[in-house]
Symmetry: C2
Subunit: 773 residues, 2 copies
């Protein structure tokens, strides 16, 4: 790992063009608006190595590996994140020679991701093989204000020649996925057509019939004066293009604007798509680039106002956290309840499907604290709407009576992953989905959610756990066999403590919620019971399991056991590993990984994080001290959880190291895989590392608690919390904690266990507590 | 399961044509000669459902599923059994209308597999849509005498019309596999050409460059007189054909002979292939059909003379065992040491690759007893030649110092299977390969094999076991984590008794063999040590493992434990299962199967079979009584092992039931999957059920032991044993056992533990011992 990109608090900056890093930079500089997004592919032709990617939320492809080892119960397909229509393309010719950064001399190359304003910029000088030199300045964005709109400004200056420059913007629906089987094309032609100054292409997916219509309109200026020139148009099966040839003299600057509309049958009737896009194109052209740009800047101002984290005295850390927040809001804005947060967002093809337990375990806390409650509620409702499919999914595996197993990976509620050890066995996801309901209520106090939807989900999940435990005659205890815990470097293990524990917790919490809803609203309770055919007698088995469950531990070591047989493994520490062996998943055979004691991501530790109030600090410490040195953190979801507990335990240096690892995971490409896309969901973990870790934020029964520490490397840090409609700014420096209520009503909160109130008119200031490691 | 085919001691007979059973019959009536073979596809065009399959031993395709979940350490490819050139095709036209059994009225249809003579026959009357009726009699074989030769006699009689009949024989290299990804074609055109009365097609595989040249020559008779008529030839990229139009009057009979040569670059220089086939075609034409046929009958006579099993009083059982012996010898003759025994032989595409542990555990005993010793020795040498690849394979997984892990599935010594739980974990195969050496020496007394090759294999396998066990500090014992035993309904389990036990046995046996070779031939021993860098100090760890190994058992039940946690499962019996749930692998999710106590195939019981002398009969009984009722026998390799132990334990009815299940598995299509091909390797198990089961045959230190019982359902049975060059016939009836030495020197053997001698001039007769269940 080396630091390739420039350090800047508000920008990601790449100086100089390195074709070997193009795929990585395409990921890092990705832009999106929650509705659609794309990798930082070049507008102009590029013959070097590139992963072309333009993605639309909710549009996917149900693919299937045709030959392989199928297991009974596997889903019919797995969902592919689908590369869709390329609307950014603008071919450039200089005196008839095509611009291609792989084929010309490039100098003064700068690529910038302006996170404050939500813009992708690029500037460079290109010397063509003919010796003609041009200077290019490009700026692109997908509009946060208008989800279907993208805009590009592409300026070309003739540095040393007279002649012609040709712009050939296009919209091309004939695109492919790299992860396609045998170069299969996933799109069919529907229609295409030209309009003055632009054109439209409609395509549909070969399966599921998602229709996408993309259109463009363009305008051109020379030395700040509008040019109205004839264009040559071409129209083929899935592509339309127009060519504008302009005469230039040395020193002339051409400014080309391309506006795009990308709309789909998710939001429009198919037959209206074409006309809708046509109308929007005219609208957007008349609005103009400068106005669209200003809207973009304003929207991002608003987002940053509610979510920014400031780190004083450490630009590297500052850049890291802002990059993470920026990418999260580019991926998910919470406005469309049908969407969710894919692990790679709009930045790559990897990981078919969009929704993992990442959403509940990592992303939910971020949105719970930085967005209005409806956003988090939408994330919960997403799962509620999928409940019937989760029940079907469990039935396929042999469960009965309304038990639900949520899918490991999904687009529409159906499971779309097929590795048996994950699909069938990594069932702890069900626990995270239950925990999210609890977490939401702890933050918002919105117990109505239980009445509306939450209780149904909890009952269905508890039914699953109740059936998934079995009574061992031999042991005279309930056991849970054949599971995969959060640590995916163990498969098909018995009595994974985390899974068994969260299973028990779910049943206990569900029984408590049943009593609450029954008490608060007997009629609604009866309605729910009738709907899901719930009878109190069901809970007898739940209670019996809670009474007689086997949860593995080791008395000698005083630790919880990750699973049966864990101590039969050869016990080693990550410090014994040679650098050349890391990451293990790229250097060791799967077999060796499975048999080693090394842990991919927190497993026992994940449970201690979720349920820290159930354990005294010394228990947490013993387990952390035992497991963290065995943890290779090869899941991007791992370091943040450890950082939070390290902060709690006063391991400040450890917490800081782990924080850095998440914060700059992608920018610095720790795992040498950023070329595949960004780790979007784990970005929420970076935020958690600061807010829950360093600042020790917790929410208990609707009230906020803080116990801040300050990393030695920082002068101060501050962050925003949106809590029950009030916006708090919390600032921590070496001397004091300041909590300011920037908007809304006064907020009661606890600092180091003491109760205070932060009022709009009076910032709350408390001396910082020094915590030594 | 119903009995569809006719019962006949020497034939498989299908009366009446049922298109729904065509794929199944294509499997069951398959023919082969060890070198090549094919499904019983029709010669004439058939538009109904069919799996076209013509296979050549040793020719495969290294395929890869392009999209999927890859694990580190997986091989680059998996080997596909490759459908190759169709040389059987003969299109028939009657007055210009193409014969197609899917499109005309078929009556008097009989398909016969003549196992005595090695012939596939078919006869039927077809009424064309025009009303024209023909009678067809076809006979086909692949020559056991001439491995590259196939011959067809196809007779057509005009029953009710005058007009024309056209024969269009062809050779077509443009064939596909059903299990291809996206209909990929695996063959490329090389050349094709016509010769008088025939033609040739050469194709090559797109990968690995296997060249195959197939040629045909034909001749035609009308009412027993040779016809010399002009043919129209066609020649396209991978196909040649010739059309013979013949005028017929009602009652005329045409007899068409097609001779084919199929040769490959495995046995010939590529540039010589074409001319070789051309020469052979002329030869074979001059030899003529009747001579080829007689050779075939003679060769099968010889095979049956050495391997036949006769069952008196039970034609169903008789047919079953002969079918199994017939298919085994069609698949593997032991003449080409590069070949092995694919689980589906030449009868279907399923199971990429050809060599599994089935060869050592099941097929070896069959060939050891029915063929000359060189055949079994060739099977051992096959693995010896693959030793360097097995060491490479282990290195990929992180093993060192010359440890070898033989592949689960292979064509050329490389692993070509990719399910982690099998590829990496079903390592007991290594044990079976070691056991085969032991077994071979027990039968043949050929300890020279150790010097030549065996010891190197044993040392390499022992090194693997030594590294694969690890010392558990917690337990203070050696454990073996993360394996899959023979019971593949458990994956990634800890301390699978069978695997640990055979691992220990291998190390113990290797140490013994080391001492033997050292003692018998110190120079050769030193050579081996130098070659494999063996030092005596290595065995210190082996001994320590043997001293301190953990082998799971349950003291209360007095049984060996299949693996850790087995008794934590809900304990059920197969008798609790509803018929609709069987087979589990078609009706239960994989998840449910993994968590259940049900056993796919013997696991502890497999170990008790291999090592029966290590355990007293009561221990074997307790374990059999515990495990057999939990065993669903959903591997075709399972019933035979249980049948053998059931016989030993005096469970005669059980033994007979289990025997029947293997013997007629494919004929009666127990598992509803015969359409995919036959279970070739498990056919050896049928033979074992009789010879090792009912007759209680064992080989100990080069000497044969028998302890026969007679199933109630039989009057008598007899079988042949080829032992150290002598051919014994053993006959068992209700009263006595007769052992006759039909050829070679007198043989000492034990009957019920008493020593006897069977001389050529004097049959040995001993009273049968009644064993009650």
């Amino acid at each position: 790992m080396e630091q390739y990109l420039e350090i800047d608090p508000w920008k990601i900056v790449e100086e100089g063009f390195d074709p070997n890093r193009q795929r990585s930079s395409e990921s890092i500089f990705s832009i999106g608006n929650g509705h659609m997004g794309q990798r930082a592919n070049f507008e102009e032709h590029y013959s070097g190595s590139t992963l072309q990617g333009s993605y639309i939320g909710g549009i996917y492809y149900p693919d299937k590996t045709k030959v392989g080892w199928w297991k009974n119960g596997y889903p019919e397909y797995f969902a592919k994140v689908l590369n869709s229509v390329n609307w950014i393309g603008i071919e450039i010719e200089v005196n008839g020679h095509r611009l291609d950064l792989a084929e010309c001399e490039v100098s003064d190359f700068t690529r910038t991701l302006d996170m404050k304003q939500g813009l992708l910029k690029r500037s460079f000088v290109a010397e063509m093989p003919t010796g003609d030199k041009i200077e290019v300045q490009a700026c692109r964005f997908v509009s946060m204000e208008r989800p279907e709109v993208g805009a590009i400004e592409y300026k070309v200056k003739a540095l040393n020649f007279d002649g012609t420059v040709t712009f050939t913007p296009y919209v091309n629906g004939e695109v492919t996925n790299e992860d396609a089987n045998y170069d299969e094309i996933f799109w069919d032609e529907v229609e295409q057509g030209l309009v003055p100054g632009g054109g439209l292409v409609t395509t549909k997916t070969k399966k599921l019939d998602f229709y996408v219509c993309a259109g463009m309109k363009c305008s051109l200026q020379k030395n700040d004066s509008a040019l109205d020139i004839e264009s040559d148009s071409e129209c083929s099966s899935m592509k339309i293009s127009q060519s504008y040839e302009v005469s230039v003299s040395e020193g002339d600057e051409l400014c080309f604007h391309k506006y795009a509309i990308v709309a789909s049958s998710l939001n429009h009737e198919r037959k209206r798509l074409h006309s809708h896009v046509k109308e929007q194109l005219s609208d957007v052209l008349s609005v103009g680039y400068q106005t669209l740009l200003q809207e973009q800047v304003d929207r991002w101002d608003t987002i940053w106002d509610g979510s920014d984290v400031q780190i004083e005295g450490d630009d590297e850390a500052q850049q890291g956290i802002r990059f993470n927040i920026f990418q999260l809001y580019q991926t998910y804005t919470g406005e469309d309840e049908r969407l969710n947060i894919g692990p790679k967002g709009f930045t790559g093809e990897k990981y078919g499907g969009c929704t993992y337990w990442d959403t509940e375990a990592y992303c939910l806390p971020f949105y719970l604290n930085t967005a209005r409650d409806e956003v988090a509620r939408n994330l919960l409702l997403y799962r509620y709407r999928h409940l019937p499919k989760a029940i079907e999914n469990a039935e396929k595996l042999g469960f009965t009576d309304g038990a639900a197993l949520y899918p490991m990976v999904t687009m529409n509620g159906e499971e779309c992953h097929n590795e048996w050890e994950i699909t069938f066995e990594e069932i702890h996801r069900n626990g995270a989905i239950a925990y999210a309901i609890y977490n939401y209520i702890q933050h918002t106090g919105d117990t109505d959610y239980l009445h509306e939807a939450g209780l149904e989900v909890l009952i269905a999940i508890s039914r699953f756990w109740s059936q998934r435990f079995n009574f061992s005659e031999k042991r005279q205890q309930y056991v849970m066999l054949g599971v995969t815990g959060p640590n995916e470097y163990e498969n098909n293990i018995n009595n994974n403590w985390y899974t068994s524990y969260i299973g028990c917790w779910t049943m206990r919490y569900t029984m408590q919620c049943i009593e609450n809803v029954r008490g608060e609203s007997p009629d609604r309770f009866k309605e729910i019971c009738d709907k899901v055919e719930f009878e109190d007698a069901e809970t007898e088995r739940w209670k019996d399991i809670l009474d007689r469950v086997y949860l593995p531990e080791d008395e000698n070591l005083g630790i919880i056991l990750q699973q049966d047989n864990y101590l039969d493994k050869v016990q080693r520490s990550t410090s014994d590993l040679d650098k050349s062996e890391r990451p293990l998943n790229q250097n060791w055979s799967w077999d060796r990984i499975l048999r080693s004691c090394f842990i991919k991501q927190g497993d026992v530790v994940q449970g201690l994080y979720f349920f820290e109030d159930h354990f005294d600090e010394e228990t947490i410490r013993r387990n952390f001290d035992f497991y963290e040195p065995r943890t290779v953190h090869e899941s991007s979801l791992s370091p943040c959880i450890h950082a939070i507990l390290a902060s709690k335990l006063g391991y400040n240096d450890k917490a800081y190291q782990l924080y850095l690892r998440t914060a700059r995971l992608d920018i610095d490409d720790y795992n040498q895989e950023v070329h595949q896309g960004l780790h979007i969901t784990s970005m929420a973990g970076t935020w958690m590392s600061i807010v829950e870790g360093f600042a020790g934020k917790r929410a208990k029964e609707g009230t906020l608690h803080f116990a801040p520490t300050l990393p030695d490397q920082w002068d101060a840090y501050s962050f925003k919390i949106l809590h029950k409609g009030s916006l708090l700014k919390v600032r921590v420096d070496t001397d004091e904690i300041e909590v300011q209520c920037e908007r809304g009503d006064a907020v009661e909160c606890y600092l180091y266990g003491e109760k205070y109130k932060a009022s709009p008119d009076q910032p709350l200031t408390v001396p910082a507590k020094a915590v030594s490691a």
